[in-house]
């Protein structure tokens, strides 16, 4: 039991003291996962609306692929991205392996299918005549898309939460393509794993607390926005 209480006490001290390493790692995590989520939103909304709004052969296959993508094991994503970015790999000349950019790419591959799946489902749940009605009122394609996405903003917020949650909590891909380099590509999940492997539980617990708090705060904000929208 001492291990837990000592660890927690030490963690509180680290967080209060503003231990530079821990906070630097936290900020990097937010930056990497936040960027990956933003790119995923762009890609996911684009692909999700294309799948939801267009009739084409293989549409069901596309839905299945997106749904499979929503459950992609991060380790496999890490492996695929690592192969692509490896010095001798197809994109090796860009020298991206073991950089934050490589981690953003890997987390985007994890989060984009999640956002795509949520978007397609949200758009399919809208009134089936809504698009025709907007066109009938004189909307251009772009105006239609804007209004329809605005209409689906509550489930799209859920997509943001799920995408960010998936990105910031994965470890396999970040470890593999980032390399967990101190001061460069170390993020919260890889740092926790490293500290535990060294037997340093206190910093691991401190980072875990920060990670949980972060996920909690993001979800709290988005849920509050959702609730306000629903009641307005």
């Amino acid at each position: 039991m001492d291990l837990i209480w000592d660890g927690l006490g030490e963690a509180v001290r680290i967080i209060q003291s503003g231990d530079f390493d821990v906070w630097e790692i936290a900020v990097r995590s937010i930056f990497v996962s936040g960027t990956a989520t933003a790119i995923s939103l762009f890609l996911g909304i684009l692909i999700g609306s294309l799948i939801a709004f267009n009739q084409f052969p293989g549409r069901n296959l596309a839905f299945s692929l997106v749904n499979t993508g929503m459950g992609l094991p991060p380790v496999i994503v890490g492996l695929m991205v690592a192969i692509m970015l490896w010095r001798s790999g197809p994109l090796g000349e860009f020298r991206l392996i073991y950089t934050p950019t490589a981690m953003i790419i890997a987390q985007t591959v994890i989060a984009a299918p999640i956002v795509t799946g949520f978007t397609a489902a949200a758009l399919r749940n809208l009134h089936p005549k809504l698009r025709s009605q907007l066109y009938g009122l004189g909307a251009s394609r772009l105006q239609m898309l804007r209004l329809v996405l605005w209409e689906a903003k509550l489930p799209l917020l859920a997509a943001v939460m799920a995408g960010f949650g998936g990105a910031i909590s994965e470890i396999g891909a970040s470890q593999m393509v980032g390399g967990n380099l101190a001061g460069d590509t170390r993020v919260m999940t890889t740092a926790i794993m490293l500290e535990v492997s060294r037997g340093e539980f206190a910093p691991a617990i401190a980072l875990s607390v920060i990670l949980l708090l972060l996920i909690f705060i993001v979800n709290l904000i988005l849920t509050t926005v959702q609730q306000q929208e629903r009641h307005s």
């Binding site: 009134h127 005549k129 809504l130 025709s132 009605q133 907007l134 066109y135 009938g136 009122l137 004189g138 909307a139 251009s140 105006q143 209004l147 209409e151 307005s232």
Partner: protein, 379 residues
Amino acid sequence: MTQAKLSLRDVRVRRGRSELVNVPQLDVLEGEVLVIIGPNGAGKSILLETLALLQEPTAGRVLFEGEPVDGRQLRLRRRMAVVFQESAMLRRSVVDNVSMGMRLRGVPRSLRRQRTRHWMERFGIAHLAHRSALTLSGGEAQRANLARAFAVEPEVLMLDEPFSALDQPTRDDLLEDLSAALRETGVTTIFVTHDRAEALRLGDRVAVLMGGFIRQMGTAAEVFAAPVDEEVAAFVGVANLGGGRVRSLADGLATLDLGGATVESAGRPPVGAVASSPELGTEVLVCLRPEDIVIEPGGSDSHRTSARNHLHGSLSRITPLGGQVRVVVDCGFPLVALITKQSLEDLGLRVGDEAVASFKASAVHLIPRGQTAARLGGR
């Protein structure tokens, strides 16, 4: 001659292997209310969506004021407005929904506000302005839907079964308001429905669409009084259809055998039908609209009216239908009449009573037996 506002030429719409619409020619005239009527699955909505430029025809052309629409769909869509059966409101206030069409078309804010207020008042929803549109009842939402369409001041207004999801009293009210708004604005209108009463009420011209083809086109009176063939007759609600034989022809009057009774018909050929006047001895289909039949109690034999036909029988069934009553008189064959509730009470008739059904020879419409009219404009 009135100019055609919107036209179809050799238009076909296919989905997969099935052809849903085949219209060689259709002209919607400037300022008219054209009703497209037909049973479910006739292709009415697809035809409307084609005219509204929401659906590309598989083949053929759509013309706006005589010019092909190609490449100007968005611009032309902004000169029209469409109202669907379901109002598909946005998750916004009623006033935002009503002004949405104008916002999409870039109408300036002050004008937007003025027209929104006007049309919300016209359709009786001004008091709902700041409610969320998703909380409206079916009737209220459809009022908002109509206000939204009129507010853009379209040159062509298209309505796809706007009232079919509503209950009867709401439907009557809305029909009244729509009819007044159409008269006032004089907007070119295409109104799709499967409801005969709506077609009669609103239509300057009626097109009967069945199986993707326009089977008959004419004024509402023509189509309803003189359907072109048996199928159209059955659809437009000529409840009394019976096989008869022409016994004699004299002075423009045909005397017919109809289930043992003798009936006289002015016997004009139906509008658009291939047949000419009936010939002696030919089998014909006798059509008689329920509202053209007058009912009186049986017993008296002196009928001093201009009606040529008086059939005696007994009342076999009475069914209330809103303000009216559907009465079936058994005259050797069942004859359906539509009379008001008040008339029935005044007459004091009950099931089993003797009754006389009278109707004018001109109300009896004849269709050559077993013939389906050529499809209008078909090849």
